[in-house]
Each structure stands twice: as C-alpha cells, then as structure tokens.
Symmetry: C2
Subunit: 382 residues, 2 copies
C-alpha cells in the first residue's frame, strides 16, 4: 500500500453540548483539522458515526457535514462499525488516499448523544449487539459487558477492585486534557464505592454518554507541504468476530482486536514493545484488560497484574488513555476512534501539554465495536 | 488507480420478505455473489445500508452479515449515503482493492423496510433530508420530491402525463426480471390515474417500499481466476450537493449527479454516447428526468422529449431501468445502488434473459441519495 500521512488533527471538547447539533460539532472539528493541516479543502470527507439514524433522525450525515464544513461537492459517506466507527472512518480515508483516488481526505468521527430526538441512547447502543438474539430479549450493552467482567473475575480469580488502575489512570490523565469531559482525578475509594450500573460494572468502570467530534486530515506523501507536521500511518487493519457474545467459544478473547493488531504488527514489522503508547478502547475497564491481552501486552488473565505494577500509567511500559481515554476524556461512541488518533497525533508531535510522554515516537490505537465483534487498529509514527 | 474488476454478482428477489430478516437477506446475496465468482471467502465485506439503525434496531450491521455469511474475521463496515449507500459500498470495495489493502472484497447493499421494529420507514426516509430544516418541520421525502416535480412542470411547461414513459419502461422491463417486485406492465391510463402520493407525484411515479439485498465481488487483475467472467470498473466517482433543497440555487439541477458522472467520463475517456445502458436512480420519475439531464443525455428541460421519442426503452439511444429499475424492480433503499450494478453486470455478460439488450458493452450506473445531495456513479465495461 502507498504511504499515507496524517497532516492535520482537530477536535471539539467532549461533553454535553446541549447547544450544538451534529452540523456544528462536525463542522467545528473538520475545520479545526483543516486549519491544523493548513489546507483549505479536501477531495473527500468520511464520517465515522454510529447513532445519527436512530438517535438524531439524521442519515445522509456525511453530506450534511460536507455542506456544513463548506466542502461541497467533495465525495462524502458515513461509515458505521458500532463504537469502532471513528477508527474505520480514518481507515477508509487512508484507503482512498492509498488507492490514488484522492490526494487529501478528511475523516471525522462524531456522535451527539444528549438531546436524543428520535430514539433512546440505550436502545441505540444495544443495536451494536445482535438485535434478534440479544437486544430484543432485553440485554443492554452494559449488561453484556458485565457478563464478560464477571466471567473474567471468576475465571482468573480477580476482584473488581483490581480493575481500579485503568479508571484511575484515565481520570488522572484527563485532568491534563482541556478537551476532556471529566478533568477530576479519582481515588481508589471512589472507584470502589461507585454505584453499580450492571454489576460488577460500576459508574467508574464505564465511559460516559456524551457529545463530541474529532477529525484528522490524511494525504499522500506527494501532497505534504512545508509547514505541515506529517505523521505516517505505519499500519492499519480491521477484523471481526461473532456478533453475539453467546456464539463465541471464549468470551474472554477479543478475537477482532487480536487479529487486527497482529495484522498491524506484521505489516509494519513492529511489535507490541515498539509502541510508546496505546490508545486502548477503554469503554469499560474489562475491555481495557482484554485489549491489553489481545494486543500482546499481557498473557491471558495477566492484564490486571500489569496494571497493578503501574505499567499503564505515564512512564510505565505501555501508557494507555494518555489524554483520558474513553473513560474520562469521554466516549461519544462513533467519534472515539478518531479522538484516539487525534490524541496519539498530539503525543507524537510533542503537543500533549501536561500529558506529554517523554518518549512518544510510535502509537498503537484500537477502536472496538460491539463486544469485540469488530476492531480497527492503527500504528502511527512520527 | 489500479484496475478493479467485478467477478461475481448475486441478489435476492425484491419484495416484501416478511419471513426474512437482515441476516438472511444479506447472507443469501453475499453467498450468491461468492458462488457466482467461484470464490469461497473474501478479505473484506462492505455493506451499503441506510435504515438498519432507525428501522431495524440493528447497527454493527456489517459484522452481523460477515458472521451470517461465514466470512469472519474479514474486515467489515457499513457505509451510509442515504439512498446512494449501495453504490457507495461498491465504490468502497473498489477503493480497498485499488489501494492494495485487499485482493478480493464483497460489497452488499441491503435494506429491510417491511416489519419495522424500532422506527417508522417514513421517518427513516426523511432522515435523508435535513432534520433541522426540513424533516422536523414535517416534510416527508416524497413531499420534497413533489416540489421538484412541480417546479419542473412549471418551469419547462410540462404536464405530469409526459413523465409516463419512465414508469412504463420500468414496468415493462420488470416483467422480464424474475427478481423484480412488480412484474406487471402498466398502461398510460393506469399511470395517469394512479392516486397521488404527494401531488404531482402519483403511486406510479414512485418506487415502492420493499426488502432486498444484492452483492458484487470485486478483485484485482491478478486475482482473476479462469472460469470467472470479469467486468472492469472503468470509472467510479462520488460527489455531493447541498443537504437542504432550499439551500440550492436551482432545484432542477442535480449537481452531485452532474459532477460524479462528468468525473467518470473524464477518468475513462468516454462520453454519454459510449454507454449502452444507464441504470438511473428512478426512485421518482422526476429524478429520472433530472438524472438524464445531469448526465448529458438531454439538455435542461429536454428529458421528457427524449423519453417521448422512445429513447429510454430497450433499443433506444440510452435504455434505462433495463431490469425494472428502482420503480418496478423495487427500491430497497440502501440496496438499490448495488442492484443497479448487478443488473448492469447481467447485461454486460449477456445474461439478462428476456431483457437482454442487443449491444451491451458499457453501462453507466448512478445511485442518488437525498434530493440529489449525494450521488455515486460507475462505468462498467465488458
């Protein structure tokens, strides 16, 4: 594949934007990314989004945002892969550039979850699961995740308290990110006592419902201009696993995360230890643990021990959630995959402010949809 | 761009499939396309769909279909561009192959509009329009199209009766297509007297609400195997126009259709007269007329004269809707763009049965979303 570079990154703060709709959030992030790249226009716009149809009553979303961001008549489509939509949009942009169809493309991830117009957010999130065999029987998305966490605790003889480092790290890092939703560090006691959402998942195991948009501009090597700060997409891959959790031989293996990350490592000739940070899909602490195991940072059942040693904190062997992650920066679902890449870009450019890692040359980002039924993984390098 | 070829095409009949859900429809079309291509598996699956989130309560649809069609762990995402989703999915597949990311990819367009689970079809279709400035004020999708038809009749001094040839041609062709929904030719009188949906649009101006799935397998030149019947994607392009009809300087110009078709003609070095058939987006007769004008087959306001001369019928200068089109084959919205390409493939392979055109070497297909706010155009050649 032809080399593809990230030349611009932009975002809105994550939060409850009661005064902003899809068009305002999307156009703001897109124009910020274009300004950052110092380009006026692009050949195409790919939008990562999950819920605009069922929650906002708005499909044809990519056209809406191309129009709002003053990019007409650029090619535009929306890409949906549940909570991995944002990562998939960046991959779609990279593919279009690698194909030679376009020179400069913007990918924007966006979600507007407050102010639901046409459907409930809980029902929308459950649509990432199997409607016929899971959602329609009353399973919520968090309920299914709780089954995974309970199984992990049972099989590996772990307590809920041992998941605390993931949440604490995320909140501590979010404090240094002005675009994060929760900029307040939390204590072990607060984690322990946070009320249950679906036991054993407590409020402080779970990413919040929120709004936000983040965008990246990608281009060919030839299109890079002076004054830009290009980062290379060293690898990109997506993979799937069974839709229903019950159809999986082992619900503690995130097959899609394992396959897509190993494809990235293979394509780039790099390995897990070559990464300086890992923007993991920490929508629930259990998913963080399983992602670390799927990507080769811990053996089966070993992720909590890794975290207990301080390995996922800044300065550790594999810092995660360096800007707060999904947990504390926020998880506007279809946008999160793009936020991860924007956050990684800030680290690789040395612009992560108080959260800047000492060494940040290569980042692994992984956006997961459903209960690991789809994953999109990228390796980005300075 | 690297050459991309279509090596397989499959479809389900279009109709009201009360006994089939998304997974059955999708898997059937995908497996039919794979069987036609004589391949067992693919590297990726891209799904064109508009309404699964709001009408079926099912997002993460591409994973669902990858699972149902036994293609795990293939890369899978859904692509949404309103009623142009099916065309966009084929384009996404072509881009992934052209990029060198994959060798063999399947694109499936799918829509399940009967048996709505989580939202009404009318509200879903209206989500292709601008929710803030059109849909939320009560405009239906057909209502907006009616404004365009009324304006066309006024500005070009035409009567509704003059749109009849588009509907008659579609229904006559559908009679020869065993996968079509309405296999009954209609008379001018029936057209004239068909009850109004949103005046001047009558039932026989409008494509039906229905279910269906169609799929094509695309691959690189190197991946073509003996026994396959490859067709070359000579060009592919997408473009956008304003989201809201009221924001357009001229509602009788389909800018996205004009831009995407002229990009295809430019890229291929071909022109409108080089095409042997045109699978137009005949969701409403007014859209057929405007498409013919946008793609260079008629001057402004001249499309009805072209049709009156028999030009769009089989044997005419530019046969349209050769298998019944959206009007009579049926318009399962997110699937229609893929059905068009499947129908074109059958013509180019000489397998269109009673509808086979004498000369069918090159086909233009055009999938339109919103009120011309997005269009995806392909040129396919034998």
């Amino acid at each position: 594949m032809r080399d593809v570079f990230i030349i611009g990154a932009g975002q809105t703060p994550v939060g409850e934007h009661w005064d902003l709709g899809l068009r305002e959030l999307g156009a703001t992030a897109v124009r910020a990314a274009l300004d950052d790249a110092r380009v006026e226009s692009v050949d195409a716009l790919y939008v990562g989004n999950m819920l605009s149809g069922c929650v906002n009553g708005q499909e044809n979303l990519a056209t809406l945002l191309a129009d709002a961001a003053d990019l007409l008549p650029a090619e535009a489509w929306k890409i949906e892969a549940a909570c991995a939509s944002g990562g998939a949009a960046v991959r779609a942009a990279a593919l279009a550039v690698a194909a030679g169809a376009h020179d400069v493309v913007v990918a924007v991830g966006i979600e507007k979850m407050t102010d639901a117009v046409t459907g409930s957010v809980s029902a929308g999130l459950a649509s990432a699961a199997d409607q016929d065999y899971e959602a329609s029987h009353g399973f919520t998305f968090v309920g299914l995740s709780a089954l995974m966490m309970r199984r992990y605790m049972h099989e590996h003889d772990r307590s809920r308290d041992e998941f605390a480092p993931f949440a604490l790290t995320a909140h501590r890092n979010a404090a240094g990110n002005e675009n994060a939703m929760f900029r307040k560090p939390i204590s072990e006691e607060e984690y322990r006592e946070s009320p249950a959402v679906a036991s054993p998942i407590g409020v402080l195991d779970a990413a919040p419902i929120c709004d936000g948009a983040a965008a990246v501009v990608v281009c060919t090597k030839e299109a890079i201009q002076s004054g830009q700060e290009p980062l290379r997409i060293a690898a990109s891959a997506a993979a799937t696993d069974t839709m229903a959790l019950g159809a999986r031989g082992d619900i503690l293996e995130l097959g899609s995360a394992a396959v897509s990350s190993s494809r990235c490592f293979e394509a780039s000739g790099l390995g897990p230890s070559d990464m300086d940070l890992f923007e993991a899909h920490d929508a629930f602490t259990i998913i963080t643990a399983l992602s670390l195991e799927a990507c080769g940072y811990a053996g089966r059942g070993e992720a909590l021990r890794l975290a207990a040693k301080g390995c996922v904190a800044p300065g550790g062997c594999i810092p995660i959630s360096t800007s707060g992650g999904l947990k504390a920066r926020g998880h506007p679902v279809g946008a999160s995959g793009t936020y991860q890449i924007v956050d990684a870009a800030l680290q690789l450019r040395g612009r992560a402010g108080p959260n800047q890692l000492q060494k940040a040359r290569r980042a692994l980002t992984q956006s997961i949809g459903g209960h690991g039924s789809v994953a999109v993984t990228h390796i980005i390098e300075a």
